[in-house]
Every structure is written in structure tokens, then in C-alpha cells.
């Protein structure tokens, strides 16, 4: 898939993606990142900390927003920057919908740069992770 800088408009919404993390996914994510924090795999421990279940890792929230951007940008895009903050927790079974909107376009150092405003929203409408990304595209040859 290729996406052209000239075809992108401010206000465009990018195709949303949804994820429904499972305990297995959280386990594999903790394993591969060698994250031994019990909050992600030990439910009685998570309950003792006041949560209803084990928590989605903050970097997994980040991975979902990363995927949103890299799938949207296609082969010619390059993710330059991604900023995010995890404001609300999520647990297995929550549906997390990732959305993005083009909020700016500019030509910087001979390439096209698109700024996206991002959010990952929980089933109850709460924003788990707001974010912002910059994606660079080559300019069409003239």
C-alpha cells in the first residue's frame, strides 16, 4: 500500500483499529520484554492493588498506537515521532479502539511531514492513551 503526501488532507481521519487484549497476549508481551511486574500476570496481586484484573502494559498501549500509524502510512511513510501518555488502565476483555486524525501538514527538510492526533479509547468511552505522531513521506518528483 502506498500513500501520497499530496493526497493527505488536514482533518482526514485514519482507519481505526480495535484490539481486545487477552491474558495470553499480556503474558507473551511481558515475556518478550522480560517484564516481571506482577501487575500484568498475577490477578490476586492486581486486586490487592485495587484493580479489577491484570493490567495491559503501558508499552502495549504504545504498540497499538504505533501499529495504527505504521499500517496507515504504508510503504513510503516513515514514523518520525510518537508521544503518548497512559491515563487510564485497561484489563483483558476491554475493547481498545485506536483512532487518529490528521492535524497538520508541512514540508520540512525536503520531505512531507504529517502530524496525527491519536487516541486509544476503552469500551466505556474513557481515553486510555492520548498521543501524537509525526509521519514523513517523500515528496512527489516534479
Amino acid at each position: 500500500m502506498r500513500r501520497e503526501f499530496s493526497q493527505i488532507g488536514i482533518g482526514d481521519e485514519i482507519e481505526e483499529q480495535s484490539h481486545r487484549p487477552t491474558q495470553v497476549q499480556l503474558f507473551r508481551y511481558s515475556a518478550v520484554t522480560w517484564n516481571s511486574h506482577r501487575i500484568h500476570y498475577d490477578r490476586p496481586y492486581a486486586e490487592k492493588e485495587g484493580y479489577p484484573d491484570v493490567l495491559v502494559q503501558s508499552h502495549l498501549h504504545g504498540a497499538f498506537l504505533t501499529k495504527l500509524c505504521t499500517d496507515w502510512m504504508g510503504e513510503d511513510g516513515r514514523l518520525v515521532r510518537l508521544a503518548l501518555r497512559v491515563r487510564r488502565f485497561a484489563v483483558p476483555g476491554d475493547v481498545l479502539v485506536c483512532r487518529g486524525t490528521v492535524v497538520d501538514k508541512a514540508v520540512v527538510d525536503g520531505e512531507g511531514r504529517v502530524t496525527l492526533r491519536l487516541e486509544e479509547v476503552r469500551s466505556d468511552g474513557e481515553v486510555c492513551a492520548p498521543g501524537e505522531a509525526v509521519v514523513a513521506f517523500p515528496l512527489a518528483e516534479t
Binding site: W34, H59, A63, K67, E75, L79, R81, A83
Partner: protein
């Protein structure tokens, strides 16, 4: 418990820099990470495809590198804290009775991280602040983490906020 003594101790460490060799990023590590996230992009799975796109091997999903909590084997289990995390991994301070939380990240991706790259992390404590939260005093730490390859070429910068409470 957050005390003003702890805050003062941390403030004395502003500008503190550490250089840590992280080892080699492997193709299997990348494929497993991508699998765990649900990424099916062939750039992360298929070396042939990655070569056609101009890379030496599969590349890591952009936010993989800062997500790895421990690049080595980790501590023996008896030494881990009650919450399962490693003790004293924050500036060598005794913070065993403090809760550490991620407060957000800003990542700049300079170049893709290719399988086979040997990484070095250059970490600096750039700022520290106190904040009064509902639950009591909170300390906000700002780190700048630069990841470089063997030749010293910057691959990724991660500005990371860590909250202590």
C-alpha cells in the same frame, strides 16, 4: 513513601549519565515481539521482504526497543521486590517502598533498528519535579534515553517520564 529527602537526593543526580551495553537485537526477539503485539507487517517477519525494502534483515517495530524492561537475564527471584520488579534500578537509590509508574513517553525514531544491531543505551536524568497529588507527594523524573548502534549512530531517542509516589 515520598519524602523531601528522597527528592533532594534525586535532585542531586540531575545530569547523571549512564552508558549501558544492551547486547544484540535478534530476529527471533523481533518476530516474537511482533507476534505478541499482533503485528503481521512482513518488515518484522520476513527477511526477504525486508531486504527488498533496502534493509539488511527484519527491522524492529518502532517502539520495541524502549519496551524491553530488562536486556539481560534479570535478578534472581529472591531479590525481586514484592511486586515482581527489580530493586534499585533507578539511579542506584533505595526506593523499595516507593511506587514507580510510567508517566508517558516521547519517542523520536532516527533510523530503523535492524536484527543483528548491537545497541548501547545512553541515559540521562534531565529533570526532576515535585507534585502534590491527592494521594500525597509525588516526584516526576524526566529521562532522556538515546539508543545507538556500535558505530555510535543514533537510532532512537526516548524522552521518558517516571512518576514516584
Amino acid at each position: 513513601m515520598i519524602t523531601t529527602d528522597l527528592f533532594d537526593e534525586i535532585r542531586d543526580r540531575i545530569g547523571h549519565r549512564e552508558t549501558i551495553g544492551l547486547g544484540v537485537v535478534t530476529a527471533l526477539q523481533i518476530r516474537r515481539y511482533a507476534r505478541a503485539v499482533g503485528e503481521d507487517n512482513p518488515l518484522y517477519h520476513d527477511p526477504e521482504y525486508a531486504r527488498k525494502r533496502g534493509f539488511a534483515d527484519v527491522i524492529a517495530p518502532p517502539n520495541m526497543v524502549p519496551s524491553i524492561v530488562d536486556w539481560g537475564e534479570g535478578d534472581v527471584e529472591e531479590e525481586l521486590l514484592t511486586d515482581g520488579t527489580a530493586p534499585g534500578h533507578l539511579l542506584g537509590l533505595d526506593i523499595s517502598d516507593v511506587r514507580i509508574m510510567g508517566g508517558g513517553e516521547e519517542m523520536e525514531f532516527h533510523r530503523p533498528v535492524t536484527a543483528g544491531t548491537r545497541l548501547t543505551l545512553h541515559s540521562e536524568l534531565v529533570d526532576v519535579a515535585q507534585r502534590q497529588a491527592k494521594t500525597g507527594l509525588m516526584i516526576v523524573l524526566s529521562f532522556r534515553n538515546n539508543y545507538r548502534d556500535e558505530a555510535g549512530i543514533p537510532l532512537l531517542t526516548c524522552n521518558r517520564t517516571v512518576l514516584l509516589r
